[in-house]
């Protein structure tokens, strides 16, 4: 093997420009694959982490009637847990309401969460400082779309426990900044006590957020959603993107491998005398075949090295500075931060390299197989058809 590697190395270096052409195409593949996968990894990692820190924590216990995808379930999906069952659970009450910023009608959700909650990052405790009658907290997206700023007063209409409409001016006491659009867009946050008072639904909640010590157990009328099941949609969106990106990789890889394949077909033809000489010097056909195959695999090792040299600064820069994709992703309804920090693990780099080496070896092997059928005498004459 050592000899095959050394010979392949010399042959490739000796082949000059052709080698570097193949290597450039492959290293481009390498960079694109590593980069985009790193981006997806970063997106996935951040998406999970943000969702955990800002919204789901370790999971949520849903009221049996609550369906986050159906707003009509919300009005009546509330209740309270049996005595003693609410340990390590933070209640959240959700109600439908209408906001009238600048006279426009804006259907929203109002969410109440205890002032002293620690389970998610939402800094609701800032509301304690407010002296307003109904202080609320909104995200920057909500603030932007409703054109609200801190200190603004705006009319809110909601229904109490009997379905009777009630209305009052609320005060924007704070605007928070989160990457998680699903706790921001189309909703306002206030303290649970205040919402209980406004609706009369004292001690009731739509869902409970679980902390890390919570042990899920069946409670009638409530369904526990684990973090993973809550992230299922997100994970499948990432998965779909991964599969979609495969097409790009395959096309790119196809071009790179075609270049190697082409080189090999030509090599086997043009290097007949060399092959014949190897055999006359006492190499077996298999040994010669191995050299040609290793040469192909070596293209991808070179490509990996070139790709790392060129790619490393790019990977490093984007991984530390992040990629600002702006708010473009929010319209897609996918959980996606504005700035994605790609995650390039050693597994990604070596995995990509292994795929490249293996496929390059394969496409080199296929044309080189011809060597094993070669008649050494004809090869030496350079007379192969």
């Amino acid at each position: 093997m050592k000899m095959a590697l050394q010979m392949a190395f010399k042959n490739l270096i000796g082949a000059g420009l052709r080698t570097w052409l193949n290597v450039s195409v492959l290293s481009f593949c390498f960079i694109v694959i590593v980069f985009y996968n790193g981006f997806l990894n970063g997106w996935q990692k951040q998406g999970r982490l943000d969702a955990m820190n800002w919204e789901f924590a370790q999971g949520q216990l849903y009221h049996a009637d609550y369906d986050p995808y159906d707003v009509f379930t919300i009005q009546d999906a509330h209740g309270s847990l049996p005595e003693g069952e609410s340990q390590h659970l933070t209640p959240v009450l959700i109600q439908q309401a209408t906001l009238y910023p600048n006279g426009r009608m804006n259907p929203i959700l109002i969410k109440g969460i205890p002032l002293d909650q620690k389970v998610i990052n939402l800094p609701i405790d800032l509301l304690a400082k407010s002296t307003a009658d109904i202080p609320v907290f909104i995200g920057k997206r909500m603030a932007e779309s409703a054109k609200l700023s801190e200190g603004d007063q705006v009319l809110l209409r909601w229904r109490d426990q009997y379905g009777t409409y009630d209305a009052a001016n609320i005060t924007i006491a704070g605007i928070f900044d989160t990457e998680v659009a699903t706790i921001d867009q189309g909703q306002i946050w206030l303290t649970l006590d205040k919402l209980w008072k406004m609706t009369g639904l004292t001690d009731e909640a739509t869902l409970y957020i679980a902390d890390s010590q919570y042990q899920p157990q069946p409670i009638s009328g409530w369904n526990f959603q684990s973090l993973n099941s809550l992230l299922k949609d997100f994970e499948s969106a990432v998965q779909a993107e991964r599969i979609g990106s495969m097409v790009i990789y395959l096309v790119l890889l196809g071009i790179g491998l075609l270049a190697i394949f082409d080189t090999q077909v030509l090599s086997v033809f043009r290097r007949q005398r060399e092959i014949g000489t190897y055999i006359a010097l006492g190499m077996t056909k298999n040994q010669v075949l191995k050299i040609f195959t290793v040469e192909g695999g070596m293209y991808s090792i070179f490509a990996g090295i070139v790709g790392m040299v060129i790619g490393a600064p790019l990977f490093y820069y984007t991984a530390t500075q992040g990629i600002n994709i702006g708010s473009s992703a929010e319209g897609m309804g996918v959980r996606m931060a504005n700035i994605i920090y790609p995650a390039f693990g050693p597994g990604l780099v070596t995995g990509t390299l292994l795929v490249l080496v293996f496929s390059a070896k394969l496409v080199s092997f296929l044309p080189a197989r011809k060597i094993s059928k070669m008649n050494p005498v004809n090869a030496l004459k350079g007379k192969l058809s």
Partner: protein, 235 residues
């Protein structure tokens, strides 16, 4: 009585041509002894190269047998014949067939790497072989930087470095001018004497014949004459 290292018996070689067959060698019965400096001569197309290739185990007879260094060529597996060539047979071709990406040193060293010899052993043997052919100063050159005469001398060094029992030289002077042709023939003749290596040439070059002790003349694939001769040039 010297040891016979090549024996052919009723050797026939046919090549498929179109629908039929072409008989390139017909009923060849020859033997060569250790230390001979002989040549297969004859016009172009008479079968010289074909015979050399069979003796060198690059090809095998259609009928009859060729026994080289005690091995029946047609009985050898591909691996065994590769081993035989690697250990015991050196080839010299009309075109030198040097590996272009390797230096002179590496070209000569190649056979020894195949034999899995140690680096120190290889270095010593390669430098010795380059000295035989007078190229010890060219070790680091690439073949493209060599003249034709130098290229063929590297090929001789490559064939000789492993000190094979048998060297097969197929028209080694065909691409060389007279001066270079004489130089390499003298080198080979010297090695033949000093190392007792058997040389078998294929040639139609008079200059080569002037060095040989025995001329086997082929005509249309058959042995036409087989003469022991007094070489014109000695070393």
């Amino acid at each position: 009585m010297s040891e016979k290292i090549i024996i052919t018996e009723n050797l026939v070689k046919r090549f498929p041509v179109g629908d039929g067959e072409f008989t390139a060698l017909n009923n060849i019965n020859l033997s060569f002894e250790k230390g001979e400096f002989s040549g297969i001569i004859g016009p172009s197309g008479s079968g010289k190269t074909t015979l050399l290739n069979i003796i060198g185990s690059l090809d095998s007879p259609t009928e009859g047998s060729a026994t080289v260094l005690g091995h029946r060529i047609s009985d050898l597996s591909h691996k065994e014949s590769a081993f035989l060539r690697n250990m015991h047979i050196g080839f010299i071709f009309q075109v030198y067939n040097l590996l272009p990406v390797y230096t002179v040193f590496e070209n000569v060293e190649f056979a020894l790497i195949l034999q899995k010899r140690s680096a120190t052993e290889r270095k010593k043997a390669v430098m010795q072989a380059l000295e035989w052919v007078g190229l010890e100063n060219m070790a680091d050159k690439k073949p493209s930087k060599l003249s034709g005469g130098e290229g063929q001398r590297v090929a001789i060094a490559r064939a000789m470095v492993k000190r094979p029992e048998l060297v097969l030289a197929d028209e080694p002077t065909a691409n060389l001018d007279a001066k270079n042709a004489h130089a390499i023939l003298k080198t080979m003749k010297t090695l033949n004497k000093e190392l007792n290596t058997t040389f078998l040439f294929s040639t139609h070059d008079e200059k080569v014949m002037d060095y040989l002790n025995r001329l086997v003349r082929l005509e249309d694939g058959e042995v036409d004459k087989d003469d022991i001769v007094q070489p014109k040039y000695m070393v």
